[in-house]
Amino acid sequence: MLNVIIAGFGFIGRKLVRTFHKKIDLIKNVDSKFKIIGVSDSKGYLYNLNGLDLKRLSSVKRLSEYSEEYREGRSTEEMIEKGEANLMIEVTPTNVDDGEPGLSFMKAALKKGIHVVTSNKGPLVVAFRELTSLAKRNDCFLLYEGTVAGAIPIFSLIKRCLQGDTIRRIMGILNGTTNYILSRMYFEGTSFELALKEARERGLTERDPSYDVDGIDAACKAVILANALMNRNVKFKDVKRTGIRRVTQEAISLAKKSKFAIKLVSVIDKRIEVSPKLVPINHPLCVHSTLNAIHIETDLAREITLIGRGAGEETVSAVLNDVLTVIRETASRSRKI
């Protein structure tokens, strides 16, 4: 039986609530007593041990619009400390400098024995080992499928379906915005500046575009992949990073003549690098527009490529799957006891 709290009610938080409402029958088939007992934002939280009304919660843009139950001025930590939840979904905004506020929320939850599901890269980039050890010590799940390549189930695939394989190399197009920009330059012959402007107009970039175009976002994802799947202990500073600002129309056109596209590729093997690369146009990694792709090379299965949508609302698919995994696994544990 899961009592769930959600930290963060931004774009993903709201989408998630709507998805829980839409898919409630499916979820209740797995856990008939599933309920959301709390949701917080940066200014306060809603809390009801009997479960919040998902229909009403789905219709509001701000938590304060839900009801007078909204506890303004109270902190997410306070909601966690009540200790009545057994799963926290952490979807606060990403901060790759110090991981906050998500990092503190995750630590507080894990210390209380609350399982954590997140799509927030920041805390995992800053403190991957610390968080995974804390989860292990407290016998908690810490699932983060939504942090890398949105809806692509890379961690689930490798951890569940390739348990005996050793991952030798991972290459990925992990940032949809830069892929959109480079695809526009490739197909339309537009300049970098114009393609970036278009991406901004379509709402594809972060407020600070350097997060995308200088490879910061892709580097964060590479750090998580390296630590989670290749047993490395790397930090953001260990990534050799070159963005796409200097990729010119001429470079793309010369590449095209030799049947290559230029893509921002993260490579994790002996090195960990994010840089513009020449990708043969018939290579499975050569996907266009905002698509993401991950190509893994293992000792037994050899090569596998996954392609999918990398950001935005599709991330909810990954978060929901992680939630269902926690429900099933905790149910199976209690059956064993």
Binding site: V247, T248, Q249, S253, L254, A255, V267, K277, L278, V279
Partner: protein, 156 residues
Amino acid sequence: MKFDLTIALADRPGQLLKALKPIAKYGGNIISIIHERENPSDGFVPVSLVVDFPSKWNLQKTISDLRNMGITIIRAEEIVDTSRIIAILVGKANLKDIIQRGIKNAKIIGFEVSDPVSEDACLKLEIEVPTRLLDETLENLRRMAESEGSLIILPI
């Protein structure tokens, strides 16, 4: 190390078997053998072998034994496994200079310079590199680009 070893054998039975003995003695592993019996010249038949020897020394000892047996060596060359790669450089660097100076370990097969619409010049290089030196050569290229403040785009 693989070698192309071409020898001239007298067009008589048993000559090939005789010639193979020093190869075996010095640890050569024969990968292919072409006995061109249809092209004899002055009673000699060219035989082309591709042999994997543990080192160049083993090849030299084999050649010496073959010569002592009166066998003519037409060709004995290392077969270098090469890789062709494309690299694109974007920057203000003197691209002509890069081509003139050359790249260590690499043979420049072709190059193309784009019409400079942007401030930065753009050069596409096609180079051939011994495969065993590929990583080292790519690292050299990266360092060269970095020192010149150019962006280098290499294949995945």
